[in-house]
Symmetry: C2
DNA sequence: AGACCCAATTATGGATACAAAATAAACCCT
DNA sequence: AGGGTTTATTTTGTATCCATAATTGGGTCT
């Protein structure tokens, strides 16, 4: 797209995800155009893209509103994520790993392994862990041979995932955080083993479990908010 | 929504799906704007939406091109469709059916049941069957309580599905066509039974099988054609 | 006093004009 | 003759203007 349009898109998206724009808040083209000192044209494209991403909703004649995320939205997002990622793992297991994919997954696992073997509080290296985690999941998504999976995944509302990310940062207990990362790491190891052995069923099941694990921690932290699923 | 923009979107989409615009063909804003006698603004929004739908691809500096569908694209689309629809069926089974949903599913099944019990060639009522089929699947999608599933589904490239639809119309053998529809109908009945009994695992498995069945017939037909490219 | 209607403000969709970037081609220089 | 540079054309991104639709608020009529 454009330099200005992409800029507006990035800024408003960050505003929404950071909570600077509260859920239910009204957003109009003229407003964002005025705030960011651009014309209405890039503002329009940005809002259209934001609506496609599911972060904002369109009202018939009264601008856009920031979508509010409910507990069930988070559960729904996790369910879809689990379905798509387990499909990707299954597909990749059926096709088999090539050298680059295997190397990338190994690299990701090596990073988390080294981190967990160290004595330093894992919270200090959270960014590194997050990077390795993203590498693992994106590698499988990209290498599975089904572009539509990633396509569908990218089009899903990322709002619930942002809420989850914010939740992860609220980790207070370092020991529990270490446990959480250890479990995730072990699941990565198991998934890689299943992929190498081309055990599609095992890879699919373990990836589904792994995706759902994220939700379990989510409800663990937001216990006061009530039930999920 | 917009009158002109939506119009352009619908027209160009139909042109692509009908094959009026060949795969690989260049599409530019000015071209469609000129052909449809509209400004570049609605043409741009339409092309952006079309790109989001996956029907066209954007080249950095040389316009858009119609995406070409390969055999594996069809298989990929079916796999994602199966994953999402089986998730929807599972979710709906866990939540349980309400009165309206049950009634809608019953209505869909009643139509196909009546058609298959008659002696008339099923090809004559194909449009009716298709309607009932769409009603069945959309009802489950909408009633499952997870909007993100439908959201992701709608954002998937519909090109492979269009190819499948065209394939279905080329059914030559009436008896085989009747068999195909009978199997599909029976799977609908089984899925409804599983939903009513809140058997999430059975509903999920049967829906996955049902979605994959479409692909099997796709392979069956394309074997004769050989030109699925 | 309540309800309905009309008007005004606001917001969005569309059109045209303008500018910048990129690509392809042609021309010039070595 | 080949390569590099420049130019021109194509394409895209942005701004401003205009028209239309809708909602809200105020006024009037019953």
């Amino acid at each position: 797209m454009s330099s200005s349009g992409q800029h507006v898109l990035a800024v408003v998206r960050r505003q929404i995800l950071s909570g600077a724009r509260a859920p239910g808040e009204k957003i109009s083209e003229v407003a964002v155009a005025g705030e960011l000192a651009v014309s209405r044209t890039p503002a329009r494209t940005a809002l259209a893209a934001l609506e496609a991403e599911g972060l904002i909703e369109k009202r018939k004649g009264r601008g856009y509103t920031v979508r509010s995320i409910s507990q069930s939205d988070v559960a729904n997002a996790i369910a879809v994520k689990a379905a798509l990622e387990s499909l990707a793992a299954k597909t990749l297991a059926e096709r088999g790993l090539n050298a680059e994919t295997d190397a990338a997954l190994c690299r990701s696992i090596a990073v988390t392994q080294a981190m967990l073997e160290g004595d330093a509080p894992v919270t200090e290296h959270f960014e590194t862990y997050h990077e390795a985690n993203v590498l693992f999941h994106e590698t499988i998504m990209r290498a599975c041979g089904n572009d539509l999976i990633a396509h569908a995944f990218e089009r899903i509302a990322m709002l619930p995932f942002a809420a989850l990310g914010a939740l992860s940062f609220e980790a207070t207990d370092p020991r529990r955080e270490r446990m959480r990362l250890t479990v995730g790491h072990s699941q990565h190891v198991i998934i890689l083993d299943a992929l190498r052995k081309r055990d599609a069923g095992r890879a699919e099941a373990m990836m589904r479990e792994h995706s759902h694990a994220t939700m379990n921690y989510g409800e663990l932290f937001s216990r006061d908010l009530g039930r999920a699923e």
